[in-house]
Structure formats: structure tokens, C-alpha cells
């Protein structure tokens, strides 16, 4: 079995649904930070069966709000001296850019490909977002 040492100081993004780790890695642009980063894929999990984990050495300033869109079950642990000092709870972001795509064929985003896809949160309980251009409302699972 592959083992990766625990980190002394840093951030662990845990309980990522298997397969989404690489997506999160790209969205957070972890290839551009200077710290050591480890992406673990298909790790055995009691809760999920299989999961992905990302470990980032040293606490870096990253905006994790976007992860709520991808998988609200993700947990983010801040580690100091090998102890979890903070568990960040994920909330759905108020504004999402270029993650969701509008599916309305009448929306201007269907023809003007250079513009940013922008969505605003309308209902956090239902996880509904509204396209900034055509006002079409989607549940997260739809987009």
C-alpha cells in the first residue's frame, strides 16, 4: 500500500470524491504555488469507498469557496504542528466564474464564446445558481 507521511504544517483537503482531485488541483491552480503539494487518488475510505486527498505543505492563502460547487462534502483541515487547528466548512460561493456553463440555447454565451460564464447564487439550500446573462436558474447538478 502506498503511504504518504502526514504534514507538519499545512492544509489537507480531504474526502474528495474519487476522480475530482485532479479537477480541484487545476481549479485551485496548485501547480503555480511554491509549496510542496501532494495529490493522492483512489485512496481507500470507510465513508466513500474511494476518495482523493490533496496535501499542501505550509498554510497558503487560497480561496477554497469554489470547492463548495464541486463537492460540498469535502473537508478542509488546517494543520499546525501536526494537529488539526481548524476545520473549514464549505459554503456555496455567491459568484462563480467559468466553472459552471449555461445550457440555455437562447443565452448569449452560446454564441459569444470569449465572455466569462458568470453565475450568482440564488438559493443556497437548494444549491441554485442564476446565469448573469439570461437569468436562467439551474440546480448545481444540472450545470
Amino acid at each position: 500500500m502506498l503511504t504518504v507521511n502526514s504534514i507538519k504544517n499545512g492544509i489537507v483537503i480531504d474526502h474528495i470524491k474519487a476522480g475530482l482531485g485532479i479537477k480541484i488541483f487545476k481549479i485551485l491552480e496548485l501547480d503555480k504555488i511554491n509549496s510542496a503539494v501532494c495529490l493522492l487518488m483512489n485512496v481507500e475510505s470507510k465513508k466513500l469507498g474511494k476518495k482523493d486527498i490533496i496535501k499542501i505543505e505550509n498554510v497558503v492563502d487560497i480561496d477554497f469557496t469554489i470547492l463548495g460547487i464541486i463537492d460540498p462534502n469535502i473537508t478542509i483541515n488546517v494543520i499546525k504542528d501536526e494537529v488539526i487547528v481548524e476545520k473549514k466548512k464549505l459554503k456555496l460561493p455567491e459568484k462563480v466564474e467559468n466553472i459552471l456553463r449555461c445550457k440555455n440555447p437562447r443565452c448569449v454565451t452560446s454564441i459569444e464564446k470569449y465572455i466569462d460564464q458568470v453565475f450568482y447564487l440564488v438559493d443556497s439550500k437548494k444549491g441554485e445558481y442564476r446565469c448573469m446573462y439570461c437569468d436562467e436558474i439551474y440546480a448545481l447538478s444540472e450545470v
Binding site: 448569449v108 459569444e112 470569449y114 439570461c134
Partner: protein
């Protein structure tokens, strides 16, 4: 301050800002000649990516009446759009020549894209089935001028209330004023969408009633706003035959209406208002088209920040 702003959605402006435009619109309607040089030296660009006679003529007439000039295209094939130019590039180029732009586009949200790249005010003149804010301003100025108020009115909306964007915008706009109630007259298949009922009417505690026939409520109305019911919107022929005449306004149906009720319609009309009604003093839909021009004159002046002269 309205100078330099865009108008993309009827709710972009506050009640006070709309009041400012309507007050100027009313002033213009009483003495249009006084404003005949207000926009001298200014150019309005009309970017019509889909055909429209009424709205385009109304905007062009508005600018010409203000002493300004108009450039633009009335269908995209006669412009560089046919070569595949983006909205962003078109508006940035147009902004070099014109002081204000009006855009109609079949795609929803296109005017917002134009506004994002524009240095000059952009007015949405209709984007697909989405928004048509200057029609809403037209309706508001017509009601204010003819009824003397925008509050404490019983407003009957009749016809296709499900797909009609003018109806949705009017409900939203009139819901911002006190003590208005809505009588929503439509076949059950074409009722106002749930989100309008929940987010606008119920949320703001506004009284409304849904009925199927004009005759059931006509005596209560201060305003009757007609729209067209299309045959293809019905789910079955039987239902269409049962109800089709309910949505055609004629003199017989007007029998019990108040003497000072006004009949409005965003036009074009097909057959939903019988021609005989045109002679009734309560028929105000052609006057409404004139108010459309006055309110556009007021809007252009406010967005350009020009003084009355």
C-alpha cells in the same frame, strides 16, 4: 444620477430614478417642441440584430425629435456582423462614433455583453424572450399620464401571461408601488409563472386573483392590459375552442367596465382586440405607442445627461 448608465433590465433603476424619467417624459409629452434641440450634435446608434419596426422607429423618432442624429443597422446581414464580428468588437467600434447605443438581439443577455465592453450608455431594446425595459417604461408613463398615479390601481392582465415578457416586467415594475392589485386573466396553461407569483406577488404581500374570463372581473378594473393568446400555446383543441373568445376584447365585454378604465396593449395587435373597440374612448393603445416615444426621449436625455433647452 442616470448620466452614463446602461438600461438592461427594468429593475436596474430605483423607483426614484424611474420617477425622474417619467416626470421628464410627461413634460416632453406636453410640449415636445421645447426639447427639439436637446440632443443637437449627439448621435444614437441603433444595433438591431433582428427585425423590429415599432421599437426601432420609436427610438429613431425619439432621437430625431430631440435634434440628434441616428446611425445603425436594422438587420445584421447589412453590417460587419455578417462577417462574424463579435458583439464586443461591434460596440467598441460604434462607441467611437456614437454617444449612446440601442441594441436588440435574439440572444438573451446580449445587451449586457455590449454594456460590458461599451464606453457609452447601452439601452436594451429587447433580447429574445428575456427583457424589454423600454416597453415597461412606456407602460408606466402611459399609466401615470392617463390615470394620474402608479399606485392604488386594479390592473387586469389578459392573455398569454406565461410567455409574455412585457407582462412579467409590468408586474415587477407595478409591484414596487403601493396598493396595486392584479387580476390575472388567462387559460390555466398560460398563467403567470410560479416564480413571479412567489418571488414578486406573494413575497411582497400583493393581492392577486387568477381567473379564466375577462367578464368575471372587468367591472373591477382600472387598467386592462391585453396580450395575444396563440392557438399553438394550448395543449388541446377542445380547450382552445372553449376559451378562445374569452381573450378577444369586444364592445360586448366592455359593457360592465368602468367609464375611466383604460385599455392597453404592447402592440402589434392581431385579433385580440376587435377593431370596433378602437372607437371606444377607453382604448389607449395607440396613445401608448406615442408615450413610448416620449419616454424614450426622456431616457436618452437622462442617460446622456443633457439639459433641457
Amino acid at each position: 444620477m442616470l448620466k452614463g448608465r446602461h438600461l438592461l433590465d427594468p429593475m436596474d433603476f430605483t423607483v426614484e430614478e424611474i420617477e425622474e424619467i417619467l416626470n421628464l417624459g410627461e413634460k416632453i409629452s406636453k410640449n415636445p417642441e421645447k426639447f427639439s434641440r436637446s440632443c443637437q450634435g449627439k448621435i444614437l446608434a441603433t444595433l438591431f440584430y433582428e427585425p423590429s419596426t415599432r421599437t426601432r422607429f420609436s427610438f429613431e423618432a425619439a432621437m430625431l425629435k430631440l435634434g440628434g442624429q441616428v446611425i445603425g443597422f436594422s438587420e445584421p446581414n447589412s453590417s460587419s456582423v455578417a462577417k462574424g464580428e463579435s458583439i464586443a468588437d461591434t460596440i467598441r467600434t460604434i462607441a467611437c462614433y456614437a454617444d449612446i447605443a440601442v441594441i436588440r438581439h435574439p440572444k438573451e443577455g446580449a445587451p449586457r455583453v455590449a454594456a460590458m465592453y461599451s464606453k457609452i450608455p447601452v439601452i436594451n431594446a429587447g433580447d429574445g424572450g428575456h427583457q424589454h425595459p423600454t416597453q415597461t417604461l412606456t407602460d408606466l408613463l402611459t399609466i401615470k399620464s392617463l390615470k394620474g398615479r402608479l399606485s392604488n390601481l386594479s390592473i387586469g392582465l389578459c392573455g398569454d401571461l406565461k410567455f409574455g415578457r412585457t407582462v412579467h416586467s409590468l408586474i415587477k415594475a407595478m409591484s414596487r408601488y403601493k396598493d396595486n392589485k392584479f387580476l390575472l386573466i388567462s387559460p390555466k396553461e398560460l398563467r403567470v409563472p410560479e416564480y413571479i407569483k412567489k418571488e414578486v406577488l406573494e413575497k411582497n404581500n400583493i393581492e392577486f386573483l387568477e381567473v379564466e374570463r375577462i367578464e368575471d372581473v372587468i367591472e373591477k378594473l382600472d387598467i386592462l392590459y391585453m396580450t395575444r393568446v396563440q392557438r399553438e400555446r394550448f395543449f388541446n383543441e377542445e380547450e382552445y375552442l372553449r376559451l378562445k373568445d374569452s381573450y378577444i376584447l369586444d364592445n360586448a365585454k366592455l359593457k360592465n367596465a368602468k367609464e375611466d378604465m383604460i385599455i392597453l396593449h404592447p402592440l402589434p395587435r392581431v385579433n385580440e382586440i376587435a377593431v370596433e373597440v378602437d372607437k371606444d374612448k377607453r382604448a389607449k393603445y395607440f396613445e401608448q405607442a406615442k408615450y413610448g416615444m416620449f419616454v424614450r426621449m426622456a431616457l436618452i436625455m437622462k442617460l446622456l445627461g443633457v439639459e433641457e433647452c
